[in-house]
């Protein structure tokens, strides 16, 4: 029996009913991965240990027990190479595992491998990875989006039912949208950042990527925890995110952002969005126009804050202690210059330069400090909006997946990819993307942004859509039976 395109829930059912053994499930997964190597969605496989764990499963209490999961190669995994998509860490084997990895593995998940990604999570097309482009299974030479492109591609191709991702400015939601899957970025602080290789610490947040909102909820239940090792982790009880999925959305107020000018988008994308609105109306939801007056400042604000933090976070890659070291430097400064010149790709260098500039003496107040002030204003805008609505809805991306190389020469065009996703990161709010239609035979997604700690609400709204539509059932091979 094929396991391809199956959800976590379906696989868990198959395991319980002995339709497939734990070992067979993992063997089959590695076969699928091997047959689809052309996607380049994995950097490192964990075959031996995965099979060993599958043969010794004792915890069968969890829905996730025995379920194969792909881990973004940004999470440290003990004794398993963790590259962050960079030459700098191409031979780095961490001595410890990220909290989120431990949480999932303790719940019985089997980590089958580490997925490809934009280098240090900087990119929106998975074209900046040292390990090569990842392909989108929906078409030839299409990008999967980024930075969690490998995770999105692997789930979209049905190789694994779910994967972990991280989202700093849209790195879960944008690839989820472009690959036709569901992906959730939780409230900042819901999931521990311990063991996540930092890009922009105040924005980074891990989250699940899966075929359905329901599977995202199942994953999220295990991924979240208050972690004393991360002082920004939120000390709040973790609810059962699946508990409220089936509640009705009748009377729910959905906000549409006045300032998101949809007239500048592809007509087909707007049409899909309007259809989704009508569908939600048919389910009893009510649409309310809201204003987020400072939202247009999101992208420039993000491109000050994120590079500033990254320029500092990536300083530790200096060739002294771990990672690559350039051979034969003539002195210490030369060691730094050569190691970092050889170890980092162009996009990472660009952001380190921007970040160093905005933090430098004389520019700090004009850039970094100003950006933090704007960030506060954007957060306030959301706070006001949530007095009027329950969730906020927008397209996830400006269009469907584009061809590799098509935006490479102009970084600004690439940065605009994250127009709709960045605000939730700046405000620390939970947001998800689910597939809601097709444009030119390629999937697109709709984004739901929730209020602080209201993952349950957006998951419920997403699940109600998926219960009554079949966009999430579409696969590159056709409709799922």
């Amino acid at each position: 029996m094929s396991i391809r395109y199956k959800t976590i829930k379906e696989l868990s059912y198959m395991l319980k009913n002995k339709e497939i053994s734990n070992k067979e499930l993992i063997e089959e997964t590695f076969k699928l991965i091997k047959d689809n190597q052309y996607l380049n969605s994995f950097i490192t496989l964990n075959k031996e240990k995965a099979l060993e764990k599958a043969s010794n499963i004792d915890n069968t209490s969890s829905l996730l027990s025995g379920i194969p999961i792909a881990q973004k190669d940004l999470f440290c995994t003990k004794d398993l190479r963790t590259t962050c998509g960079s030459n700098m860490l191409s031979d780095f084997i961490p001595p410890y595992s990220a909290t989120v990895i431990e949480n999932l593995e303790n719940a019985g998940c089997i980590s089958v491998g580490k997925t490809n990604m934009d280098e240090f999570a900087m990119g929106s097309s998975n074209e900046t990875s040292f390990f090569g482009n990842v392909l989108n299974p929906w078409g030839e030479n299409l990008v999967p989006g980024g930075s969690s492109g490998g995770s999105a591609s692997a789930v979209a191709a049905g190789l694994v039912p779910a994967a972990t991702g991280t989202d700093t400015g849209g790195s879960i939601r944008q690839p989820a949208s472009l690959c036709g899957i569901s992906g959730l970025k939780p409230t900042y602080g819901r999931i521990s950042r311990w063991g996540m290789i930092a890009f922009a610490s105040s924005l980074d947040q891990a989250g699940p990527m899966a075929r359905t909102a329901e599977d995202c909820a199942i994953m999220l239940n295990e991924m979240c925890s208050h972690d004393p090792k991360d002082t920004t982790s939120i000390d709040e009880a973790v609810p059962d995110f699946t508990a409220t999925l089936d509640e009705s959305i009748k009377g729910l107020k959905i906000g549409i952002v006045k300032e998101f000018d949809l007239s500048r988008l592809d007509n087909a994308v707007v049409k899909v969005f309007e259809e989704t609105k009508r569908h939600y109306e048919s389910l009893g939801a009510e649409f309310v126009e809201i204003s987020l007056p400072n939202i247009s400042l999101s992208v420039p604000t993000y491109y000050v804050v994120a590079p500033a933090e990254c320029s500092s976070n990536l300083s530790r890659f200096d060739g002294v202690k771990f990672g690559k070291r350039s051979m034969d430097p003539i002195n210490l400064e030369d060691l730094y210059i050569k190691t970092r010149s050889e170890g980092f790709g162009d996009e990472v260098k660009r952001r380190i330069l921007i970040g160093s500039y905005v933090l430098s003496a004389g520019f700090y107040d004009a850039y970094y400090k100003k950006a933090q002030q704007v960030r506060r204003l954007i957060k306030n805008d959301f706070d006001e909006a949530y007095k009027l609505v329950d969730v906020i809805m927008s397209p996830t991306t400006r269009g469907a997946a584009f061809e590799a190389g098509s935006k490479g020469s102009d970084p600004i065009q690439m940065y605009l990819e994250d127009l709709f996703t960045i605000p939730a990161n700046l405000a620390g709010l939970p947001a998800l993307s689910i597939p809601n239609g097709m444009v030119d035979s390629k999937p697109v997604g709709v984004q739901l942004i929730g209020n602080f700690l209201e993952e349950q609400k957006i998951l419920q709204v997403a699940h109600s859509f998926q219960k009554s539509t079949d966009w999430h059932l579409k696969t590159p091979d056709g409709d799922k039976a």
Partner: protein
């Protein structure tokens, strides 16, 4: 032309917490290189700092003891620069909102007391150590020290000469050791300082261009470095040139300072708030608990010694000058009612030995328990004061147990009157002419007989008994 010197000090105090500022790594000194290092200290990818609250409590003690403002909400910033012994490529420090704000401290100068204002005291992590001389053509990095909590205490530029700078440093050292927040061990680098020196024409209002001398770790070097720097700057200005703002290094072997980097070459540290750490908030309850449990400081001790133990003020000051000395005093006082005697020994013989060796009490072999035992043996008449003096000298050299020295050398005081009488009688018998002279009225000869008895008993005779016996026998 007469010149005026303006000096400001930045003192780095290693706080004596068990673990590091942001990790569970040990702060112990002297371990094998890179053995007191955990994932966080190494700055491995993905690790996060967690602030050690004990370091905050210790910093607050310092703030309270120097009448400083305490910022109950303080924040951390990153100071970015590359160096092999700085694992993350940035140091986490408190730039914008330090835990301790404006305070002050009184120092003793030749012209009496002087108040030095303290600008701020902030927490930061120490770097590791680069070892340049161990491997040919290579530099070793030891990260044991990386992440050790430092309290950086920044003074206002209100210090006028090298002696004042040393007095200020000593006053800070006295406070941090009494507060039990630092061991004060300068040889192990527990306290180090950067000195900012500038000169200006006497009476000028504006400050001159300053040079910063980095990383000095002894009183002697502070004084020498400052005096050398003042002479250098005067020479420059008097020859018509101007002082360059720069960072200089003091070479203790050549007794000179030399340039490390100029202002133009200085790093742009690109400070910004550390996004990994939330502001640290100290509650009113926590602050009050620290206030109510603040250890006794030198001034309070002096007052208590004078008012309650009846010491002379001069004695009290000497004893309360160092935490170790005060501890030794208080330990010994627990073993005897004669506190004055204890003070007399510390101010007298012990201080004399310290002066002779030119060391601090912490560097000596004298432990509080051993000294207490010495006092106990004097008051219970096991040994005489004179013998005690030689026991102290022995302890000073070997650090051996007082009782062991007394036993090994057979120094126990002779109390047995029949023994003493026998000795006294034989002295009298052997010195008939002196006995005659004494009996004829030469009273001063009494001392001769006492001396002879003491000599015969190698000083072990109880002097009081000897006096009584001789009085009786010579009647």
């Amino acid at each position: 032309m007469s010149w005026e010197t303006v000096i400001g000090l930045e003192i780095h105090v290693q706080l004596s917490t068990k673990s590091k500022l942001f990790s569970g790594g040990s702060t112990g000194f002297g371990a094998e290189p890179n053995t007191h290092v955990d994932l966080i200290d190494m700055g491995l990818p993905g690790v996060l700092p967690v602030a050690n609250r004990d370091a905050f409590f210790k910093a607050i003690r310092f703030g309270l003891a120097t009448n400083a403002e305490i910022n109950q909400t303080s924040t951390f910033d990153r100071k970015n620069y590359f160096y092999p012994d700085l694992p993350k490529g940035y140091q986490i420090t408190q730039m914008a909102m330090p835990i301790v704000g404006k305070g002050s401290i009184r120092i003793e100068t030749d012209n009496g007391e002087k108040l030095i204002n303290i600008t701020r005291a902030h927490l930061e992590e120490d770097a590791g150590k680069s070892i340049h001389d161990l491997f040919e053509g290579e530099t070793g990095v030891d990260l044991n020290r990386a992440g050790t909590p430092l309290l950086e205490i920044v003074s206002e530029p209100e210090i006028s000469n090298a002696q004042e700078a040393v007095a200020y440093f000593k006053a800070i050292r006295q406070i941090v050791t009494f507060l039990d927040i630092c061991d004060g061990n300068m040889a192990q680098g527990s306290m180090r300082c950067d000195v900012n020196v500038s000169i200006r024409k006497s009476g000028d209002k504006e400050l001159g261009t300053r040079a910063e001398i980095k990383n000095i770790n002894s009183f002697k070097f502070i004084e020498r470095a400052i005096n050398h720097e003042i002479a250098r700057q005067i020479k420059i200005i008097e020859s018509g040139d101007s002082v360059v703002q720069e960072t200089r290094l003091y070479d203790s072997i050549k007794n000179e300072t030399r340039s490390m980097r100029s202002k133009e070459e200085a790093n742009d540290y690109r400070y910004f708030p550390c996004p990994d750490l939330l502001p640290v908030v100290i509650s009113d309850d926590e602050l009050n608990e620290i206030k109510n449990n603040l250890p006794e400081l030198p001034k309070q001790k002096i007052k208590r010694y004078v008012n309650e133990i009846n010491l002379d003020e001069s004695e009290a000051k000497i004893i309360a000058a160092s935490k170790t000395m005060a501890n030794i005093f208080e330990e010994a006082c627990k073993k005897t009612k004669d506190s004055k005697l204890v003070a007399k020994w510390l101010v007298g013989d012990v201080s004399a030995l310290l002066n002779k060796d030119n060391i601090d009490i912490e560097e000596s072999n004298l432990s509080s328990s051993n000294f207490a035992k010495l006092i106990e043996r004097i008051t219970d008449d096991t040994i005489s004061g004179k013998i005690a003096k030689s026991v102290l000298e022995e302890v000073w050299i070997s650090g051996d147990d007082v009782d062991k020295i007394i036993e090994n050398k057979g120094l126990v005081q002779i109390q047995d009157e029949t023994v003493l009488e026998k000795v006294a009688q034989s002295i009298i018998d052997n010195n008939p002419s002196q006995v005659k002279a004494y009996k004829d009225g030469k009273d001063k000869l009494f001392g001769f007989f006492v001396g002879q008895v003491m000599k015969e008993t190698q000083g072990k005779a109880n002097p009081k008994s000897v006096n009584e016996i001789l009085n009786k026998l010579l009647k």
